[in-house]
Amino acid sequence: MNDEMKDINQMPKKSPLSFQIDLQKFEKATDEEKRQQEVMSESISFFKDGVRKLMKNPLAVGSIIALIAIVLMIVIVPHIVPYGYSDIISVNGVRDKAAKNMAPFTWSEMEQKYIDDGGKLFPHIMGTDEMGRDYFVRVIYGTRVSLVVGIFAALLVLIIGVIYGSISGYLGGKVDLVMMRIVDIIYSLPDMLMVVLLSVVLREILNVDQFPFLRKLGVNMISLFMVFALLYWTGMARMVRGQILTIKSNDYVLAAKVSGAKAGRIIRKHILPNSISVIIITAALQVPSAIFTESFLSFIGLGVQAPMPSLGSLANAARAGISQYSYKLIFPAVMICLITLSCNLLGDGLRDAFDPKLRR
């Protein structure tokens, strides 16, 4: 027995004698004193907790700032810059034929004379294009088109994918089997080919002139949207289905069933709220993919109808003079990169912040 004591006493030990023990301290502690030790942290909902995490992520915050800046730009700039996207530069009402392919912040001869005479002209921040139109405005409009296309396409994919995926995931069994095989088939179709075919076919069929809005967009855009609606939702459907299968296996879904809840209520109250984070993240990551596809199509000439610019068509047009006017390619390319990168980083940031699986 003594040996044991010696062993543990290898480290310096206080013997009770060495305490200056205040005898009063041996009285019973009250409940209040004990309770002071227990503190429950403040209540935060899942959403707020996620937002807090998101704000701590510098890349995500940077992306949000970049995207807000871009959106502000495309809203404000057309009101500031006096040039239209299809306006050929004219000075005093006279077409300036020499104002083609100007470098940024330079003036044509006519414009220079106008300024010397005391007139005020808004600078060509990005120069002009090969038809004499202000490039900056065209880039901004191009961004607008690309963003709108990206967001709408992502929305389409979101709606179709979520509905399809949730029905398939929730019902399970044979229905799920059949629905997923359809997805497999669609997944294997070549999308570029479909877009081209569709745009050719639609041009014949659709009487576009009746709808001025559609005319502005062009047949190509419509076919692009149609292809998105037909083909691109498969990724989202799969993700949603997977998430639903995971959620279904949780006991709280069973508990809802035992309580008597019907399928509709279970989907609304239990399954969808818990899959929202996955849906949003996947949707956020769809936007850059849609923009990229649109840019690519515009690049090969199947995009928006001229004179409406899109970032891709601008890049395509810039190919011609790439050696002399390389800036004409750089501006739209940088814009595409910026949007795509921001959306990707934001999507990643959202996933890190909201995905429950990654919670420590």
Binding site: E4, D22, Q24, F26, E27, K28, A29, R35
Partner: protein, 330 residues
């Protein structure tokens, strides 16, 4: 006089988390003698598993030993380099985990996993290692070992997998075997088989065992010495008789009263009030104080010292100090 094969002295281990530092182990000391079975019993948050992982130095990346010493045959493990640790693990001290499903690699056969351990730590290679693997499987009671060697983990039952784990752990004849909740995931009849196997092997091979568990029944049956942990500290240390029949710490007493026991069937259970400790918000004094019925003011402020009890075991509770003072022994 026999030197302890393992001596843990004032061990402190902490984890860095986004919410602050979690002090999982706060000054744990105990000794392990060769050939004995030591049980570490506690609930979740008690720090028992972290203590075991600290000994093997297999803590997660955000965890670290922040104080104290762990002496294995006199040498301080906490100061070992990674190379020295690699030689230590498996050869001197090995560990079996709770979940046999996830402890074995599903893409390798049982045989290749066994051979890997053998080849790393002993001189045997190739055919010799395989023979040794078969020998180990027979030792742990796996039937048809030649056939089992070629099987994958998913083809085996839970009990069988745990036996394979034990075989792997013992293949290098370690001096110490750490068992971290080895039977919690198993059925009761399989649990009985595995515990019996461990006791048999311990008699045959003579290694020391550290048994980490929350199950007081398992502890009562197997262990020579027991330490009870709560909130990262040792509440009580002693033999099974001491702990079960003469507990001197309020937590141990509360624990024993809150489990159904055969000779008290029909009586209402007396639960320990409150909720388990939040390691992010540890009390200044005794970790158990907020839940203790007999807590005193001193318990709130000061950590109780470890005292030797009249029957020869150790407990860390201010009530014992009070009792000793009243008897005039201090």
């Amino acid at each position: 006089m026999s030197e302890h094969i393992l001596s843990v002295q004032n061990l402190h281990t902490s984890f860095k988390t986004s919410k602050g530092d979690v002090h999982a182990v706060n000054g744990v000391s105990f000794n392990l003698d060769a050939g004995k079975i030591l049980g570490i019993v506690g609930e979740s948050g008690s720090g028992k598993s972290v203590t075991a992982y600290s000994i093997m130095r297999i803590l997660e990346s955000n965890g670290d030993i922040t104080g104290g010493q762990i002496l294995f045959k006199g040498k301080d493990i906490t100061k070992f380099t990674e190379k020295e640790m690699r030689e230590f693990r498996g050869k001197c001290c090995s560990i079996i985990f709770q979940d046999p499903m996830t402890s074995l690699n599903p893409v390798f056969t049982v045989g290749s996993q066994l051979k890997e351990a053998i080849e790393l730590h002993t001189e045997r290679k190739g055919k010799e290692a395989e023979a040794r693997a078969i020998e180990m499987l027979t030792l742990v009671g796996v039937n048809e070992p030649e056939k089992r060697i070629k099987q994958y983990p998913f083809e085996l039952s839970g009990g069988m997998r745990q036996r394979v784990m034990i075989a792997m752990a013992l293949s290098c004849e370690p001096d110490i075997l750490i068992a971290d909740e080895p039977t919690t995931a198993l059925d009761v009849t399989i649990q009985a088989q595995i515990l019996e196997l461990m006791q048999d092997l311990q008699k045959k091979l003579g290694m020391a065992i550290i048994m980490v568990t929350h199950d007081l029944g398992v502890i009562a049956d197997m262990c020579d010495e027991i330490i009870v942990m709560y909130g990262g500290r040792v509440c009580e240390r002693g033999t099974a008789e001491h702990i079960f029949y003469n507990p001197k710490h309020e937590y141990t007493k509360g624990l024993l009263q809150s489990i159904p026991n055969v000779d008290r069937m029909g009586e209402k259970l007396v639960p320990i009030p409150g909720t388990p400790i939040n390691l992010l918000n540890m009390p200044k004094g005794c970790a158990f104080c907020p839940r203790c019925e007999n807590a005193m003011k001193i318990c709130l402020d000061e950590i109780p010292p470890e005292m030797l009890m009249p029957d020869g075991h150790f407990a860390s509770c201010w009530l014992n100090v009070k009792e000793a003072m009243e008897k005039g022994e201090v």
